[in-house]
Structure formats: C-alpha cells, structure tokens
C-alpha cells in the first residue's frame, strides 16, 4: 500500500488561496426530495464558490434533512447565496454562521501500518495527546479515529505521516450546532402552523 505523503493536499492549497475570506457554515433544512442536494449545489456553482465540506443527514424533525456546508467567502456573497438557497421551494430554512456562533466537529479516520505504529516510542503518547482512539486493528493495519476541528485532525495526520506514514485517510464534513438554545427551524415551523390555523378558509385553485 502506498502512503499518502503530501499532507497538504488539494484542500490545503485551496485554504491558502482563500486567506482573506472567512469560513462560513451554512445550515440548511430541506424536504427530503430527490435532487435536493443538486438544488443547493447549483447555487454555489453559479457564483463560482467552492464547497469546503458538506454533510447531510436526517434532522431532529422527521421528514426534514439537514445540510451543513462550509465555504470560504465574503459576507456579502454568503448572504446572497443563503437567500437564494432559502428561496428554493423545497428548502425549509437556510442560514449561515461564523465559527464563533457554533460548536462544531469533524471526524477523521487514519489507517496506518501496525508494524510502523509499534515502532513508535509511545503509541499511548500519541493517542493521549491527540485524544484519538483505536477503532480496529489487524496484524497489518490499525485504524485510528479522531474528532475535532480541522486543525486538530490535520495535526494528527501530519505527525503520523511524518513519523510512520498514513496508508489511508478520510475526514468528514463539518457538523455543527449553534450556541443558541433552540434550532431556529422550530420557531419557524411553529409560526407557520399558527399562520395556517389563523386562515379562515382554504380556497380552491
């Protein structure tokens, strides 16, 4: 198995180019319909914005999916993009945050050679320092897992690849929770319910 030597990678390159821009986290709640992801990504495509990370999963509200997207951008652009996403019929709600508003994590998995890992002075040292854990191992390989911010998962990658090499590496998209107490969506849904109940009659088209 070949090792991954270039720990910067393409993502690292893109990050350097976007130094002056801010990393925004866009949260989107949508109906679970075919083509929804496409509806979201075409809006980034139109404005020529790279998606840095993407994570999609069912939300706490049944039938509604939650997207977490990060992208480097300027505030003005991200605001327009979010409005255009929010405008799509099947999107329930979209908003954006900066890192200060959020608690967020990414998860990374590292496959390294068992033999090389054992050659390290202290496996415990690495695991302890990075708060990583061992998920699985065979005679040939060990899989480490670490959750954290990009810089943290990247730091472990860097150390491992410098010292023993990394056979395989994967990092998830960001998942994030706002520091406010409630998901904003719940307010919106409640308001909508109220509005509908206020309606005297349903008119026919």
């Amino acid at each position: 198995m070949e090792e991954i030597n270039d720990n910067q990678g393409i993502a690292g390159q893109a990050r350097n180019d976007d130094n002056e821009k801010t990393l925004y986290t866009i949260t989107i709640f949508s109906e679970n319909m075919v083509g929804l992801l496409n509806q979201v990504t075409i809006i980034f495509t139109r404005r020529g914005l790279n998606i840095e990370t993407l994570s999609v999963s069912p939300s706490a509200i049944e039938g509604i999916h939650k997207f977490t997207i990060t992208a480097f951008s300027e505030r003005d652009d991200i605001e327009k993009i979010v409005k255009q996403i929010d405008k799509r019929v099947d999107i329930v709600k979209a908003y954006y945050n900066t890192d200060e508003d959020l608690v967020f994590q990414e998860i990374a998995l590292y496959k390294v050679s068992t033999q090389k890992l054992l050659s390290l002075d202290s496996i415990e040292g690495i695991v302890r320092r990075y708060n990583a854990r061992i998920l699985d191992m065979t005679e040939v390989w060990v899989i480490l897992e670490k959750t954290g911010h990009y810089d943290e998962t990247q730091a472990l990658f860097k150390e491992l690849s410098e010292k023993i090499g990394v056979l395989q590496f994967i990092r998830s998209g960001r998942v994030a929770i706002t520091k406010s107490k409630v998901e904003r969506l719940s307010d919106m849904l409640a308001a909508m319910e109220e509005k509908l109940n206020r309606k005297p009659t349903i008119h026919n088209y």
């Binding site: 075919v34 019929v89 999107i91 998901e183």
Partner: protein
Amino acid sequence: MKEINDMQGMAGQARHDKSAMGHTLKGTGADHDKFKMKGAQSLIEALLHEGVDTIFGYPGGQAIPIYDALYDYKDKLNHILVRHEQGATHAAQGYARVSGKVGVTLVTSGPGVANTITGIADAMMDSTPIVVIAGQVPSNLLGTDAFQEVDVIGVTLPISKWAYQVRHAEEIPWAVARAFYIASTGRPGPVVLDIAKNAQVGIVDYRPVSIDHIRSYIPVPDMEPERIAEAAQLIDAAQKPLALVGQGVILGNAEKELLDFLRKADIPAASTVLGLSALPSDEPLNVGMLGMHGNVAPNLKTNECDVLIAIGIRFDDRVTGDLNSYAKQAKIIHFDVDPAEIDKNVKVDIPILGNAKETLAAVVKLLKENKHTAWRDEFKAPWEKEIQVVINKELHPGTGPLTMGEVVHKVSEATGHDAVLVTDVGQNQMMGVRYFQFKQTRSVVTSGGLGTMGYGLPAAIGAKFGAPERTVCLFTGDGGLQMTIQELGTIMQSNVDVKIILLNNDYLGMVRQWQELFWQERYSETLMQNPDFIKIAAAYNIPGRLVSEREELDEAIREMLETKGPYLLEAKVVRKGMVYPMVPAGSAVTNIILG
C-alpha cells in the same frame, strides 16, 4: 422556547397528516367522486381543475398517452399545435403575461423538452408563471440512456422555480396542484413536470387536489409594520422622491395602489421595460422609461433624487448601469416580494417585503398629502432635450428611409394606444417599448431578462389567446423573426389574429449598433441576406404588404388593422438605424449618448 423533543411530535404528526406536505385532499370523499382513469386522463382533469382552458404543445412518443387523453377533451381544452417546442413555451409566456393566468406547455421527452429550455429560462428571468409538462421515458428506463431520454430535472433545476419528476400515476393530481400553486404564487415563475410514461398509463382513482400552502415555501413574506412606518416617514420628508416601477406592480395587481401612492405624495415615476403599462402612458406622474435605452430625464434624475422608491424591480444591470455610481446620493426604499432581491444588486436603506398591493396600500395610509411641483418641473428640461435631439428625428424624420420609431409610433396611434405590444429582441424591442403607448396594464409582452431572439412571434400567438378581445401587435426584426418563423404555421392552422410588423433592416441591428459604436464599425456577421418575407407569409396564407415609402405607411397600417386575422406588414426601415438615447453597458446612468 421549545425543545427538540417537542418538534419530534410535530414531525410524527406530519408523517400521518399529508397536509403538512402541502397536500390537501379536497372533494367530498363520496364514491361518486372517484373515477378510475389513466394517469394521463387524471392530468387533463387536474388541469381543468386548475382552470386551464388553453395549452400550447407538440406531441411525441412519450407524450402520446396524454395526447390520447386530450382527444376526449377537445371541447374543454383548447390545444394549440405549435411548430417547435420553444414556440410552445414562449406562447405560454405570452398567454400568461397578458392574462395573469398560468400558461401551459405540453411536450414530449428528450428533444421535445430540451427545446423548451430557452422558454423556461426566459420565464424564470421574467417571473412568468408557466407550467411545462413533459413526457418522460418509463420509470424502469430512467437513467439508462433510453431513446429520447434526457435528465429533465437535472437540466431544468437551475432555470426553474420548481421541477418535479412524476413516476407514479397517483402523484399526478398532487403534482399538478403543486405546480400551479408554485408557478402562480409569490414571485411567479416556471415549473416543470416531468411525467414518466408508466405514470401516464397507470390507473388511478382520480380526486381533485387543491393546494394552498407548502410548508417549506413562503410565497409572500409577512409585512413588517415598522418598515412601512419608516418608509412613510422617509417619503414624507423627501424633497425629490423618484419611484421606479417594475413588473412586480403588475404581477401583484397593484396598479391602483401604485397610482394612489404616487398621487397622494406627488411622486414622479419611471418604469423598467417589464414595468411598462402598469401606469398609463398619459399619466402626468409617468416620467418615462428607465435604463440603457430609457428616457433621459428619469435616468438623470435617478442620480439626483433624494429618496428612490423601487417597487417590484430587481435593479437589473440594464437599468442601473454602473452600480458604483448608481443613486449614491439617495436613500433607497425597495418594495419586493422576493427577499433574495433585497441588497442583491443595490444596497437599500429600507426593504419592504410583501405583495406590492398590500405594502403600497399600507404606506399610502400613513403618507401625508404632498406636492413636489418644483422637483417634477425639473424633469421637463431633459425631456425637451430628448424630444428635440432624439425623438423628433426618430418619429418625424421627414425625408429618407422609414425609421423604426415612426413605424411603431404610427401603429400605436392607429390602435388608439390600446393594443398589446409584443416585441422580439434587439432594436425592434427597444423602439417598441420606447414609442408604443399604453392605456391599460398587462399590455407589454417582451423578453426583458433573457433577451431571447425568436421570442416575439410565438409570444404574440400566446398573447392573442390570453387576450382574444385585444389587438395584438408584434414588432420583430428580420433576425428574430427567422429564429421562430415556423410559428407562422401555428398562426395559419389556428387562425391567430396577430398583427406582425417586421422592421426589416437586413441587419442584426442591435449588435450592429454596438459594433458601430464600440467595435470600430467592424460589422462581423451582422449583415443578413433575407428571403422574401411577404412570399413566405403568403405560403402560410397570411396576407401581407411590403412598405418602404413614407406615403404608403398610414394606408398599409390601416389595411393591416382592418384585415380580419393575421397580417404581415414588412417595413423596409433605415438600414443603419440607431436606438438612442443609450447608456453604454457598465457606465453610469447619467452617461447618456444622444446620437
């Protein structure tokens, strides 16, 4: 504050109650309301339930079941057979623009629906409510590169308000109800329904479905009373207010509210191209048209007013020119139904979300009566200048070849300024919107945002069906006419009373104009060798007349208007005519070339 667990409850309910998906089943539920029928027939029933009476379409392999169902509804549903699917979408647009109803297009899969792309994109740009219904290969063949399969949803998502693939017959009534609801509410737009063949032939128990909400969709945002009050205050204090009128006024049926607003506060108003006819041409507060080929006065005054009140406009670059010098001195109030338009191109001081009909009325209530006589007088000088330097020359040239403007002007006069103006794109369009005059709303059908050459002829057909009692005058060019000239066949077959005025200069005139002004007169590929258009019309049994002499023009226009049914009036106009005034692309609205 609610916690997450509470929301779970709501979701659980949603699962069982289809109304949470915007799905309201109507009807009595009695057995006699249920009809077993094919999906294709349920589609027709659903269209009738939406009040559809006219469809523009073209059959093909994967739409045969729908066309077969249509065969039994000939007395209820008027299907207009076009000659190319692009024409079907533009016709639906023309129909929608004049009638305010949803235009409907029916086509087959693959090339059929691919040909509708231009019309869908056009309707998206111009907020025109149309529903494009396309046949699709059977579900089991989707994704296999089947004969005449194209990824309709993938292709149309970026250029439509909503696109949905129907794979089961039972979905059809729901999908149709949703499509019409989405197309026609809020900021209108095109919706695409891609109906797989198996859904067309599957058997359903048809019950009419009506939709009055979709939980993920807020067509009209709530009005914010504080903003309304702020706006009224600002307008009351304004010394030099200027209103900009966009199509949002027409789409929101807010013409009366607009007039009340303008009159109460004595505010001069200018229109975008698509906002034309919201105000009558002879309204004293109407100070003309904005933009690249708009009138001098409102363009100049945009950069002199103290409060700019934009109503249902989207600050298109053809209206604003250079944004960095656009109305920088003014406080800006923006009325719009679409939150995504706020601050998109121009940063505004007071956004007013909502339907213009309601928001304008709310502002009017708070406004003081006002007079801005001195400010309104300031518009006179630039108007006089434009009349002297540009308009008189164009409308009353005296000698030399016919000008485009004089033809438009004479036709407008001959129709009592009360006809529907349809244009193609380019010089014919700009001359049309500059010199045609309007008495009633919904009198302009033109491709404003996308600038689609070939739009005119099919859009005029649709406009005639949308407003059968009105005279429909199409101004087109020799280039644009030939892009969809096959629709003369539609006019022949359905005997559509469209007055076609061809302003023929044997050039792609607007591009030629740019080449003359900005590209050192290098007329690259803009000269056209044209056919005998009168003969072509004659081949379609459409009477026509070629006019090149000024003396003949009045008589020819009279003949055209007196002829029952379609007519082609070809005017040989000045070959290198220019549309002035002109604000060069990307320059300040005050940087106006007068010729």
